[in-house]
């Protein structure tokens, strides 16, 4: 029962109806659907070359036109989405699992040896530009999708480690942790059963935002020829190849770039929407 004029709780706006979440969900939905669909259907085989049909403008037969080898740009973008998402999943998964584990370990004894070692290593990794890490890996192991995943995954590590540690340190001060300890659980058991579930929410939000960064990084590496290798289509390399023909066929440079921007924007907005849901205090619109 509430009285008029008293501080009645304001009904919370449903977070899944917020504009950030809705637009983000729609944009990522398009990209994910395109990627999944490409497993069963593309307008043309993405690597099929039709030299007689090269450098054609967008039309009813080739929606986004064709490239310098006569390959269908729309089909290549669909398969490119699959590769971008695969690198994103691999890189963010790598950073999330390893980073969160390290963050939880560091939080067990704040300012202890392990905490200092892990956090200083995280600082150090953070100072290293991702492209440089990728460049070093490529210089030794050669270019490729797997190397790109490892390089971008290493970039992700410090974000998850810091975040998990920050939240976990607060959780460790709670009463129920004392209770769990009294019940005979050891540090690792407490971390897994009681700390991890409390950290999971913010980690998922961060993962969405890191996913956007991973797609951007993969595109950059592929543009430089250090990421996904031919004949596998990738958005970054499509842009690189388009540069030569840009003066005659500008759309070649427009569609793959727009695909990257849509994917990154989608995951960023989705992350913002989820963040609003998990911690309304962080709402940026204020």
């Amino acid at each position: 029962m509430t009285r008029a004029g008293a501080s009645a709780p304001v009904p919370a706006k449903r977070w899944w109806t917020g504009p950030s979440f809705l637009i983000g969900f729609a944009l990522t939905g398009v990209i994910v659907a395109g990627a999944l669909l490409s497993y069963v259907w593309t307008p043309y085989p993405p690597t099929q070359m039709m030299i007689l049909n090269r450098l054609k403008p967008p039309s009813a037969t080739n929606w986004f036109g064709t490239d310098q080898f006569g390959r269908d740009v729309f089909s290549m973008i669909m398969v490119g989405a699959r590769n971008s998402l695969a690198v994103g999943l691999g890189a963010v998964g790598f950073g999330l699992v390893l980073g969160t584990t390290l963050g939880l370990l560091a939080a067990i004894r704040r300012d202890g040896f392990l905490d200092n070692l892990i956090m200083r290593t995280a600082d150090f990794t953070h100072a290293f530009p991702a492209v440089l890490t990728a460049i070093m890996i490529t210089a030794i192991a050669g270019p490729g999708m797997l190397n790109a995943i490892v390089a971008i995954g290493i970039l992700n590590l410090p974000y998850f480690a810091r975040l998990a540690r920050g939240v976990a340190i607060q959780v460790w001060t709670r009463d129920y942790i004392q209770a769990a300890r009294a019940a005979g659980l050891d540090n690792v058991q407490i971390s897994v059963r009681h700390v991890l579930p409390n950290v999971a929410g913010v980690i998922v939000v961060q993962a969405t935002i890191q996913f956007a960064l991973a797609i951007l990084a993969e595109a950059g590496l592929s543009y430089l020829g250090l990421g996904t290798q031919p004949p596998n289509p990738s958005w970054g390399r499509m842009l690189n190849e388009a540069q030569t023909f840009m003066a005659v066929q500008p759309w070649l440079a427009i569609f793959p770039g727009a695909a990257i921007a849509i994917a990154v924007l989608g995951f960023n907005l989705l992350g913002d929407g989820l963040r609003d849901a998990i911690d309304p205090r962080l709402r940026r619109s204020r």
Binding site: F124, A127, F128, T138, A139, Y223, G225, L269
Partner: protein
């Protein structure tokens, strides 16, 4: 204060040495035989032996590491295998392109991002605010190399106002050189401007709610005076920090942007050295980039500590 400075300096030296060790192990120890990586699979045994001697690979790894560090300290970075010139000379020549490019990008990003952030904060929850936030979201989502291509498409190919790529050199006159660097600098500045707009807006909104701003308003100061003299100075502290932390992102961006615009800078050099397997140049350049990022972070932390004594104590 002195102990704060001393602790930070020790940490700086340790981080720099750590970076050097990681780079050395990654590029000289892990590949097994760096000479074989440099010369490729079909290298003649005599050429391999000669290069091994030239790279000092007959000596144990710790000795080579110390020789490399002392070389860095004395400015002797070795000889590039592909270009056959001292690496220090190569870096010096390429720096004349990358340094002005990075500086121009920072200036552009600041002069676009900070005023936009202030504008958004001043018009909080109004259409101007929304427009700035949309710009910021787009600026973060658009890959800077694609933005660079779009700029080329519009201003170089379409309107013919700027060259599509290449660099005439400073000897061709400052006007031609600046003209060649302007589009790449814009492309490099876009994501930075978007980040700065968001941080400035958020920081300004926080500061405007502080007690000292309320006091200034209660004293009867005009709103522009309150905002500029009291709020702005405080709001800019996190902005400066973010600018410093974004430096490594700027370096990474420069590597790609220099390739988009075919600029003969450090980014293009490191990329070319990889494709040519010139590990000597790769090792020195990666160390230079990492060292710069670490030094800038150190400087930001130091300045921040000087401004805010609480941080000095906390660390």
């Amino acid at each position: 204060m002195l102990s704060f400075l001393a602790r930070r300096c020790v940490a700086l030296v340790a981080t720099l040495l750590g970076a050097a060790l990681v780079i050395f192990v990654a590029l000289e120890v892990l590949p097994g035989d760096p000479a074989a990586v440099t010369l490729g699979l079909n290298a003649a045994p005599e050429a391999l032996a000669a290069l091994r001697l030239e790279m000092g690979l007959d000596k144990p790894a710790p000795v080579r590491f110390l020789a490399w560090i002392s070389g860095i300290l004395t400015g002797d970075l070795g000889l590039s295998y592909t270009y056959r010139v001292p690496v220090a000379q190569l870096i010096g020549e390429r720096m004349a392109v990358t340094l002005p490019l990075a500086l121009a990008a920072i200036i552009l990003a600041t002069s676009i991002g900070v005023p936009l952030g202030l504008l958004a904060a001043a018009n909080h929850n109004r259409p101007t605010d929304a427009a700035v936030m949309i710009f910021a979201q787009l600026g973060l989502a658009v890959p800077n190399f694609w933005f660079g291509l779009l700029l080329v498409l519009l201003f170089a190919i379409g309107l013919g106002w700027f060259p599509a790529g290449g660099f005439p050199g400073w000897q061709a006159g400052p006007a031609a050189a600046v003209k060649a660097l302007l589009l790449p600098a814009f492309a490099l500045a876009l994501p930075q401007a978007a980040i700065l707009a968001r941080v400035t807006r958020s920081s300004m909104l926080d500061t405007l709610q502080e007690d000292f701003v309320r006091t200034a308003r209660a004293k009867g100061l005009a709103e522009p005076v309150t905002v500029v003299r009291h709020a702005l100075r405080n709001a800019l502290i996190p902005v400066v920090t973010i600018m410093g932390l974004q430096f490594s992102v700027l370096i990474a961006g420069a590597i790609i942007i220099e390739n988009v615009f075919a600029l003969p800078g450090l980014g293009r050099l490191v990329f070319q050295s990889i494709t040519q397997h010139d590990l000597i140049v790769v090792k020195d350049l990666v160390m230079l980039f990492a060292g710069l990022a670490i030094l800038v972070n150190f400087a930001v932390e130091l300045v921040y500590g000087l401004i805010d004594p609480r941080l000095r104590e906390a660390s």
